[in-house]
Protein backbone atom coordinates (compact mmCIF):
# COMPACT_ATOMS: atom_id res chain seq x y z
CA UNK A 1 0.00 0.00 0.00
CA UNK A 2 1.29 3.43 -0.97
CA UNK A 3 1.04 6.59 1.10
CA UNK A 4 2.25 9.96 -0.08
CA UNK A 5 3.76 12.80 1.94
CA UNK A 6 3.70 16.22 0.32
CA UNK A 7 6.17 18.72 1.72
CA UNK A 8 4.79 22.07 2.86
CA UNK A 9 6.52 24.03 0.08
CA UNK A 10 4.30 22.25 -2.45
CA UNK A 11 1.35 24.38 -1.31
CA UNK A 12 2.83 27.08 -3.53
CA UNK A 13 0.64 27.41 -6.61
CA UNK A 14 3.54 27.09 -9.01
CA UNK A 15 3.63 23.34 -8.24
CA UNK A 16 -0.10 22.75 -8.84
CA UNK A 17 0.24 21.71 -12.49
CA UNK A 18 3.15 19.35 -11.80
CA UNK A 19 1.29 17.75 -8.88
CA UNK A 20 -1.84 17.27 -10.97
CA UNK A 21 0.18 15.50 -13.67
CA UNK A 22 1.83 13.26 -11.07
CA UNK A 23 -1.50 12.39 -9.43
CA UNK A 24 -3.01 11.54 -12.83
CA UNK A 25 -0.03 9.32 -13.62
CA UNK A 26 -0.34 7.53 -10.26
CA UNK A 27 -4.00 6.78 -11.03
CA UNK A 28 -3.05 5.46 -14.48
CA UNK A 29 -0.45 3.18 -12.94
CA UNK A 30 -2.83 1.99 -10.24
CA UNK A 31 -0.65 3.08 -7.35
CA UNK A 32 -2.77 5.90 -5.97
CA UNK A 33 -2.75 6.19 -2.20
CA UNK A 34 -3.59 8.46 0.69
CA UNK A 35 -1.99 11.90 0.51
CA UNK A 36 -0.65 13.59 3.64
CA UNK A 37 0.11 17.27 3.26
CA UNK A 38 2.63 18.65 5.69
CA UNK A 39 2.47 22.11 7.11
CA UNK A 40 4.53 24.10 9.57
CA UNK A 41 2.02 23.58 12.36
CA UNK A 42 2.20 19.80 12.40
CA UNK A 43 4.64 18.06 14.71
CA UNK A 44 6.59 16.50 11.94
CA UNK A 45 8.21 13.52 13.62
CA UNK A 46 5.15 12.23 15.44
CA UNK A 47 3.06 12.75 12.30
CA UNK A 48 5.44 10.68 10.16
CA UNK A 49 5.65 8.04 12.89
CA UNK A 50 1.87 7.85 12.91
CA UNK A 51 1.77 7.25 9.16
CA UNK A 52 4.59 4.71 9.24
CA UNK A 53 2.84 2.75 12.00
CA UNK A 54 -0.30 2.21 9.90
CA UNK A 55 1.04 -0.83 8.01
CA UNK A 56 2.34 1.32 5.21
CA UNK A 57 4.12 -0.72 2.57
CA UNK A 58 5.69 2.20 0.77
CA UNK A 59 5.92 5.74 2.03
CA UNK A 60 6.50 8.09 -0.88
CA UNK A 61 8.11 11.42 -0.20
CA UNK A 62 7.02 14.10 -2.65
CA UNK A 63 9.48 16.94 -2.38
CA UNK A 64 13.20 17.63 -2.44
CA UNK A 65 16.33 16.55 -0.52
CA UNK A 66 15.21 18.41 2.61
CA UNK A 67 11.93 16.47 2.62
CA UNK A 68 13.81 13.16 2.41
CA UNK A 69 16.17 14.27 5.20
CA UNK A 70 13.17 15.10 7.40
CA UNK A 71 11.62 11.62 7.17
CA UNK A 72 14.88 9.66 7.24
CA UNK A 73 15.21 9.31 11.02
CA UNK A 74 11.64 8.14 11.48
CA UNK A 75 11.63 5.76 8.52
CA UNK A 76 14.88 4.11 9.53
CA UNK A 77 13.22 2.85 12.70
CA UNK A 78 10.22 1.38 10.82
CA UNK A 79 9.85 -1.46 8.38
CA UNK A 80 8.72 0.83 5.59
CA UNK A 81 9.99 1.21 2.02
CA UNK A 82 10.97 4.75 1.01
CA UNK A 83 9.83 6.03 -2.36
CA UNK A 84 10.66 9.46 -3.75
CA UNK A 85 8.92 11.66 -6.29
CA UNK A 86 11.34 14.54 -6.76
CA UNK A 87 9.93 18.04 -7.09
CA UNK A 88 11.73 21.30 -6.46
CA UNK A 89 15.23 22.59 -7.00
CA UNK A 90 17.51 20.26 -5.07
CA UNK A 91 17.01 16.56 -5.79
CA UNK A 92 20.46 15.05 -5.51
CA UNK A 93 19.26 12.15 -3.34
CA UNK A 94 16.58 11.13 -5.86
CA UNK A 95 19.15 11.42 -8.65
CA UNK A 96 21.54 9.17 -6.70
CA UNK A 97 18.81 6.54 -6.44
CA UNK A 98 18.15 6.84 -10.18
CA UNK A 99 14.70 8.39 -9.81
CA UNK A 100 13.84 10.79 -12.61
CA UNK A 101 11.56 13.81 -12.23
CA UNK A 102 7.84 14.02 -13.02
CA UNK A 103 5.80 11.19 -14.49
CA UNK A 104 8.82 8.93 -14.93
CA UNK A 105 9.32 8.94 -11.16
CA UNK A 106 5.85 7.38 -10.90
CA UNK A 107 6.85 4.66 -13.36
CA UNK A 108 9.96 3.92 -11.27
CA UNK A 109 7.74 3.71 -8.21
CA UNK A 110 5.35 1.29 -9.94
CA UNK A 111 8.27 -0.92 -11.08
CA UNK A 112 9.10 -1.28 -7.36
CA UNK A 113 12.73 -2.31 -7.57
CA UNK A 114 13.86 -2.16 -3.95
CA UNK A 115 17.42 -1.94 -2.67
CA UNK A 116 18.60 -2.01 0.94
CA UNK A 117 21.26 0.55 1.77
CA UNK A 118 23.37 1.21 4.84
CA UNK A 119 22.68 4.10 7.13
CA UNK A 120 25.22 5.83 9.29
CA UNK A 121 24.50 6.65 12.90
CA UNK A 122 25.88 9.66 14.70
CA UNK A 123 25.11 10.27 18.37
CA UNK A 124 21.83 8.36 18.18
CA UNK A 125 20.53 9.80 14.91
CA UNK A 126 20.75 8.43 11.39
CA UNK A 127 22.58 9.96 8.47
CA UNK A 128 22.50 9.06 4.82
CA UNK A 129 25.63 10.60 3.38
CA UNK A 130 28.24 12.26 5.57
CA UNK A 131 29.57 13.58 8.85
CA UNK A 132 32.19 16.26 8.25
CA UNK A 133 34.51 18.16 10.54
CA UNK A 134 36.56 21.16 9.51
CA UNK A 135 39.95 22.42 10.56
CA UNK A 136 43.34 21.10 11.54
CA UNK A 137 43.95 19.42 14.86
CA UNK A 138 40.95 17.11 14.43
CA UNK A 139 41.36 13.80 16.20
CA UNK A 140 39.33 10.73 15.29
CA UNK A 141 39.53 7.41 17.13
CA UNK A 142 38.75 4.67 14.61
CA UNK A 143 37.51 1.13 15.36
CA UNK A 144 38.82 1.61 18.96
CA UNK A 145 42.25 0.75 17.55
CA UNK A 146 43.97 3.79 16.11
CA UNK A 147 43.69 7.55 16.05
CA UNK A 148 43.77 9.76 12.99
CA UNK A 149 44.99 13.30 13.54
CA UNK A 150 44.62 16.11 11.05
CA UNK A 151 47.95 17.82 10.43
CA UNK A 152 48.10 21.59 9.69
CA UNK A 153 47.42 21.13 5.99
CA UNK A 154 44.09 19.34 6.56
CA UNK A 155 41.07 21.26 5.27
CA UNK A 156 38.43 18.83 6.51
CA UNK A 157 37.87 15.21 7.42
CA UNK A 158 34.65 13.50 6.44
CA UNK A 159 33.13 10.14 7.29
CA UNK A 160 30.93 8.98 4.43
CA UNK A 161 28.30 6.31 3.95
CA UNK A 162 27.76 7.31 0.34
CA UNK A 163 28.64 10.16 -1.96
CA UNK A 164 25.63 11.74 -3.62
CA UNK A 165 27.50 13.56 -6.37
CA UNK A 166 30.93 14.47 -7.66
CA UNK A 167 33.89 12.68 -9.25
CA UNK A 168 34.44 10.35 -6.27
CA UNK A 169 30.94 8.90 -6.39
CA UNK A 170 32.14 5.38 -7.27
CA UNK A 171 34.55 5.13 -4.33
CA UNK A 172 31.68 4.69 -1.94
CA UNK A 173 29.53 1.64 -1.60
CA UNK A 174 26.39 2.16 0.51
CA UNK A 175 25.89 -1.61 0.77
CA UNK A 176 29.28 -2.68 2.16
CA UNK A 177 28.46 -2.12 5.86
CA UNK A 178 31.47 0.15 6.14
CA UNK A 179 32.09 3.86 6.24
CA UNK A 180 34.81 5.69 4.35
CA UNK A 181 36.95 8.26 6.14
CA UNK A 182 38.43 10.85 3.80
CA UNK A 183 40.73 13.71 4.71
CA UNK A 184 40.89 16.60 2.29
CA UNK A 185 44.07 18.70 2.12
CA UNK A 186 43.94 22.48 1.92
CA UNK A 187 44.28 23.81 -1.60
CA UNK A 188 47.84 25.09 -1.80
CA UNK A 189 48.68 28.25 -3.71
CA UNK A 190 51.97 28.31 -5.58
CA UNK A 191 54.27 31.17 -4.61
CA UNK A 192 54.64 33.56 -7.59
CA UNK A 193 53.06 30.89 -9.77
CA UNK A 194 55.79 28.42 -8.89
CA UNK A 195 55.40 24.79 -8.01
CA UNK A 196 52.15 23.83 -6.25
CA UNK A 197 52.16 21.04 -3.72
CA UNK A 198 50.02 18.12 -4.78
CA UNK A 199 48.80 16.74 -1.46
CA UNK A 200 47.00 13.44 -1.51
CA UNK A 201 43.64 12.76 0.15
CA UNK A 202 43.35 9.98 2.69
CA UNK A 203 40.89 7.16 2.22
CA UNK A 204 40.37 4.66 5.03
CA UNK A 205 37.50 2.19 5.48
CA UNK A 206 36.16 2.07 9.02
CA UNK A 207 33.30 0.52 11.01
CA UNK A 208 33.06 3.12 13.74
CA UNK A 209 34.74 6.28 14.93
CA UNK A 210 34.74 8.82 17.70
CA UNK A 211 35.32 12.41 16.66
CA UNK A 212 36.98 14.23 19.53
CA UNK A 213 37.05 17.93 20.25
CA UNK A 214 40.06 20.02 19.43
CA UNK A 215 41.05 23.56 20.23
CA UNK A 216 40.10 24.68 16.72
CA UNK A 217 36.94 22.73 16.08
CA UNK A 218 34.05 21.69 18.29
CA UNK A 219 31.24 20.75 15.93
CA UNK A 220 30.45 18.38 13.07
CA UNK A 221 28.11 18.81 10.09
CA UNK A 222 25.68 15.98 9.32
CA UNK A 223 24.57 15.44 5.71
CA UNK A 224 25.75 18.94 4.84
CA UNK A 225 23.17 20.66 7.07
CA UNK A 226 22.66 19.78 10.72
CA UNK A 227 25.41 20.84 13.14
CA UNK A 228 26.14 19.05 16.43
CA UNK A 229 28.85 19.46 19.04
CA UNK A 230 31.79 17.12 19.50
CA UNK A 231 32.61 14.58 20.83
CA UNK A 232 30.38 12.39 18.66
CA UNK A 233 30.34 8.68 17.91
CA UNK A 234 29.84 7.61 14.32
CA UNK A 235 29.05 4.07 13.18
CA UNK A 236 27.25 1.98 10.58
CA UNK A 237 23.73 1.32 11.77
CA UNK A 238 22.37 -2.21 11.96
CA UNK A 239 19.15 -0.81 10.47
CA UNK A 240 19.00 -0.64 6.69
CA UNK A 241 16.95 1.72 4.60
CA UNK A 242 14.77 0.12 1.94
CA UNK A 243 14.46 2.39 -1.06
CA UNK A 244 12.67 2.14 -4.41
CA UNK A 245 15.40 2.76 -6.99
CA UNK A 246 15.53 3.40 -10.72
CA UNK A 247 17.71 2.04 -13.50
CA UNK A 248 20.05 5.03 -13.36
CA UNK A 249 21.04 4.58 -9.72
CA UNK A 250 24.62 5.55 -8.86
CA UNK A 251 25.61 2.48 -6.83
Amino acid sequence: MYQYIYDSFLSNKKYDKELMQIEAKLIDLGIKGKIHKLNVLKNFESYIKGIADKKTGCLVVVGDDRTVAKVLNTLAEKDVVLGIIPIGDRNIIANFFGIPKGGKACETLAARKIEEIDLGKVSGQFFLSSVEVFGEGVSILCNDKYEIKGLPKTEKIGIYNLCLEGPNINIFNPQDEELELISFPKKSKGIFGLKKQNLKKSLIKIKKAKILSSSKTSSVIIDGGKIIKTPVEVSVSLKKLKVVVGKGRKF
Binding site: K145, Y146, E147, I148, K149, G150, L151, P152, K153, T154, I157, N170, I171, N173, E180, S183, P185, K186, L199, K200, K201, S202, L203, I204, K205, R249, K250, F251
Partner: protein, 124 residues
Protein backbone atom coordinates in the same frame (compact mmCIF):
# COMPACT_ATOMS: atom_id res chain seq x y z
CA UNK B 1 26.32 -2.03 -10.37
CA UNK B 2 29.68 -3.80 -9.97
CA UNK B 3 32.84 -2.17 -8.77
CA UNK B 4 35.85 -2.83 -10.98
CA UNK B 5 38.52 -2.71 -8.31
CA UNK B 6 38.58 -2.83 -4.53
CA UNK B 7 39.47 0.63 -3.29
CA UNK B 8 42.82 0.81 -1.56
CA UNK B 9 43.55 2.50 1.74
CA UNK B 10 45.39 5.78 1.49
CA UNK B 11 46.98 7.51 4.46
CA UNK B 12 47.39 10.96 2.91
CA UNK B 13 50.13 13.49 3.51
CA UNK B 14 48.03 15.67 5.80
CA UNK B 15 47.20 13.08 8.46
CA UNK B 16 48.97 11.17 11.20
CA UNK B 17 47.83 7.70 12.27
CA UNK B 18 48.65 6.54 15.79
CA UNK B 19 47.92 3.04 17.09
CA UNK B 20 47.30 -0.42 15.67
CA UNK B 21 46.36 0.04 12.02
CA UNK B 22 45.25 -3.08 10.12
CA UNK B 23 44.35 -3.07 6.44
CA UNK B 24 42.97 -5.88 4.27
CA UNK B 25 43.81 -4.60 0.81
CA UNK B 26 46.54 -2.43 -0.62
CA UNK B 27 47.75 0.41 1.59
CA UNK B 28 49.44 3.61 0.41
CA UNK B 29 51.18 5.76 3.04
CA UNK B 30 52.01 9.37 2.18
CA UNK B 31 51.65 10.79 5.72
CA UNK B 32 52.80 9.74 9.19
CA UNK B 33 52.17 6.46 11.03
CA UNK B 34 53.25 5.41 14.50
CA UNK B 35 52.48 2.20 16.39
CA UNK B 36 51.75 -0.86 14.25
CA UNK B 37 50.96 -1.06 10.55
CA UNK B 38 49.90 -4.31 8.92
CA UNK B 39 48.07 -5.38 5.80
CA UNK B 40 47.34 -8.62 3.96
CA UNK B 41 47.84 -6.72 0.71
CA UNK B 42 50.61 -4.59 -0.74
CA UNK B 43 52.15 -1.58 0.96
CA UNK B 44 53.51 1.51 -0.74
CA UNK B 45 55.35 4.13 1.31
CA UNK B 46 55.80 7.51 -0.43
CA UNK B 47 58.91 9.71 -0.42
CA UNK B 48 57.61 12.12 2.20
CA UNK B 49 56.04 9.47 4.44
CA UNK B 50 57.34 8.87 7.96
CA UNK B 51 56.61 5.54 9.62
CA UNK B 52 57.58 4.95 13.20
CA UNK B 53 56.05 1.51 13.58
CA UNK B 54 56.48 -2.20 13.12
CA UNK B 55 55.31 -3.02 9.62
CA UNK B 56 53.91 -6.21 8.07
CA UNK B 57 52.69 -6.65 4.48
CA UNK B 58 52.52 -9.15 1.63
CA UNK B 59 54.65 -6.99 -0.70
CA UNK B 60 56.11 -3.53 -0.14
CA UNK B 61 57.72 -0.65 -2.01
CA UNK B 62 59.37 1.90 0.26
CA UNK B 63 60.48 5.35 -0.84
CA UNK B 64 60.24 7.16 2.51
CA UNK B 65 61.41 6.74 6.09
CA UNK B 66 60.66 3.68 8.22
CA UNK B 67 61.79 3.34 11.82
CA UNK B 68 60.75 -0.12 13.01
CA UNK B 69 60.94 -3.76 12.02
CA UNK B 70 59.70 -4.77 8.58
CA UNK B 71 58.13 -8.17 7.89
CA UNK B 72 57.32 -8.69 4.23
CA UNK B 73 55.94 -12.01 3.05
CA UNK B 74 57.04 -11.83 -0.58
CA UNK B 75 59.03 -8.98 -2.08
CA UNK B 76 60.38 -5.71 -0.70
CA UNK B 77 61.71 -2.91 -2.87
CA UNK B 78 63.64 0.00 -1.41
CA UNK B 79 63.94 2.95 -3.79
CA UNK B 80 66.89 5.36 -3.83
CA UNK B 81 65.39 7.67 -1.17
CA UNK B 82 64.29 4.93 1.22
CA UNK B 83 65.66 5.02 4.78
CA UNK B 84 64.99 1.99 6.97
CA UNK B 85 66.07 1.75 10.60
CA UNK B 86 65.07 -1.68 11.86
CA UNK B 87 65.30 -5.36 11.08
CA UNK B 88 63.97 -6.69 7.79
CA UNK B 89 62.43 -10.14 7.22
CA UNK B 90 61.63 -10.85 3.59
CA UNK B 91 61.70 -13.41 0.79
CA UNK B 92 62.93 -11.20 -2.06
CA UNK B 93 64.73 -7.88 -1.55
CA UNK B 94 65.58 -5.17 -4.10
CA UNK B 95 67.65 -2.22 -2.96
CA UNK B 96 68.29 0.79 -5.21
CA UNK B 97 71.51 2.82 -5.07
CA UNK B 98 71.19 5.47 -2.39
CA UNK B 99 68.78 3.58 -0.14
CA UNK B 100 69.92 3.13 3.45
CA UNK B 101 69.31 0.20 5.82
CA UNK B 102 70.33 0.19 9.47
CA UNK B 103 69.39 -3.20 10.83
CA UNK B 104 69.58 -6.92 10.24
CA UNK B 105 68.21 -8.57 7.14
CA UNK B 106 66.74 -12.05 7.34
CA UNK B 107 65.76 -13.80 4.13
CA UNK B 108 63.69 -16.99 4.02
CA UNK B 109 65.70 -20.08 4.93
CA UNK B 110 65.10 -22.24 1.88
CA UNK B 111 66.26 -19.45 -0.38
CA UNK B 112 69.63 -19.23 1.36
CA UNK B 113 69.88 -23.03 1.35
CA UNK B 114 69.16 -23.13 -2.39
CA UNK B 115 71.87 -20.52 -3.00
CA UNK B 116 74.38 -22.43 -0.84
CA UNK B 117 73.61 -25.67 -2.67
CA UNK B 118 74.10 -23.98 -6.03
CA UNK B 119 77.36 -22.44 -4.88
CA UNK B 120 78.75 -25.80 -3.65
CA UNK B 121 77.72 -27.46 -6.91
CA UNK B 122 79.54 -24.75 -8.85
CA UNK B 123 82.66 -25.14 -6.68
CA UNK B 124 82.73 -28.90 -7.37
Amino acid sequence: MSREKEVETIIGSTVKVEGDFKGNGDVVVEGEVSGKLSTKGNLSVGENAKINASVAAANAIIAGEVVGDLKVKESLELTSKARVTGDIEVKTLTVATGASINGNIKMEEFKTKEIEEKQTEEEK
